[in-house]
C-alpha cells in the first residue's frame, strides 16, 4: 500500500479544524444536547466511563442525553489518532516516568475541577463561542488560573536555580 504523503500543519490550522469540526458535528451529526458538546476532554471521558460502569457494574452515575444509548468515544479516537501520528513520524518512544506521583495528583485535581466547571479548556472556548455568559466567565477565570499557575512555576524554577547556585 502506498503511504499518504506526510503533511505539515500549524497550530492555527489545527485549531481551526477543531472549532469548525465541533460546530459541524453538533449541527449535522446530532451531538446535542447539551449544546456546544463537540469536543470535551473531561466530559467525554466521564460519559464513556459512566456508560461502561452503568452497563457492566450496575452503578447509577447517569449520563447526558447524547451518551445514553451509545457513549461518545472522542477520547479513544484522540489516543488512537495521536498514536498513529506518532508511529508514522517516528516520534513514538516509551520513556520512563518522571515525578509520577506529582503527575498523578495533578491529574486527579484537573479532572475534579474540570468537572466542577463542566468543561475542559477546549470546550470552554466552544461554549464561549456559543455565546454563553457563564462560559465566558469560566473562560476568563481559567486564563487567570493559568497566569497564576505560570507565575508559580516561574517562582519554583527560580528557587531551584538559586539553590543549585548556592551548592
Amino acid at each position: 500500500m502506498r503511504r499518504l504523503r506526510e503533511f505539515k500543519v500549524t497550530a492555527f490550522q489545527a485549531g481551526l479544524v477543531m472549532g469548525l469540526g465541533a460546530a459541524l458535528i453538533q449541527a449535522y451529526f446530532e451531538i446535542i444536547p447539551p449544546p456546544a458538546y463537540g469536543i470535551c476532554m473531561v466530559c467525554h471521558p466521564k460519559d464513556l466511563v459512566n456508560w461502561i460502569s452503568d452497563h457492566l457494574l450496575g452503578t447509577t452515575w447517569g449520563n447526558v442525553t447524547v451518551s445514553v444509548d451509545w457513549p461518545v468515544m472522542t477520547v479513544l479516537g484522540i489516543v488512537l489518532g495521536a498514536y498513529v501520528a506518532a508511529r508514522r513520524n517516528g516520534e513514538f518512544r516509551v520513556e520512563p516516568a518522571r515525578e509520577p506521583i506529582y503527575h498523578f495528583i495533578t491529574g486527579f485535581l484537573v479532572i475534579n475541577f474540570g468537572l466542577i466547571l463542566g468543561s475542559c479548556p477546549i470546550r470552554i472556548i466552544i461554549v464561549s463561542s456559543y455565546g454563553s455568559l457563564i462560559g465566558i466567565v469560566g473562560y476568563a477565570c481559567m486564563i487567570i488560573g493559568v497566569v497564576l499557575g505560570s507565575a508559580w512555576l516561574r517562582r519554583r524554577a527560580r528557587r531551584q536555580v538559586r539553590e543549585r547556585m548556592q551548592k
Binding site: 500549524t10 460546530a23 476532554m41 444509548d69 491529574g107 466542577i116 475542559c120 497566569v147 505560570s150 512555576l153
Partner: protein, 148 residues
Amino acid sequence: MKVGIVTLVFGFVIGYLGQRARLCYIAGYRDFFLTRDTYILKGMLGTIVGAVGGFVLFNFLGGNVPGFPMLLDTPGMNLRSAWLFAMVGGLGLGFFGCLSGGCPYRLHIMAAEGKKTFWAYGLGFYLGLIYFNVVTTRVLEWVVQALR
C-alpha cells in the same frame, strides 16, 4: 451507534492533527505569559474563529444550532451556584492544568506518544473521575441546595 462512530472518527482526526501541531489549550496562555511565544496561542485563536464561524454559518444554513447566541438565556444562569462553579472550576482547572504541564487533550496525546509520565497522569485522571462520581457530586449537590 451513530454518536459513537462520529465522535470516534472526529477524535481520530483531531488526535492526529493535535500530535502534528503540538496544540495545547493551556500551554498557549502559559507560553505567552512566560516567554511571549505566540505559536500555540494562534491555535486558540483558530479554535475561536472556527467555532464562531461554524456556529454562525451552520445556524444560517439551517443546521441544528438551537438558541444561538445564548447570551442571557444560558441554562442555569439564575442559579448562584452555577456562577460559583464556573469561577472555582475555572480557576482550579487553569492553575492545576498549568502545574500538570498542559491541558487534558495534550497530555492524552503525550501519553499516546509513549511518555510514561503521562500514563501516571492518566491514572490519576481516571481515578479522579471515579472520585468525582462518588464524592464530589454529593458536595456539589449540597452546595446547590445551600445557595438556592
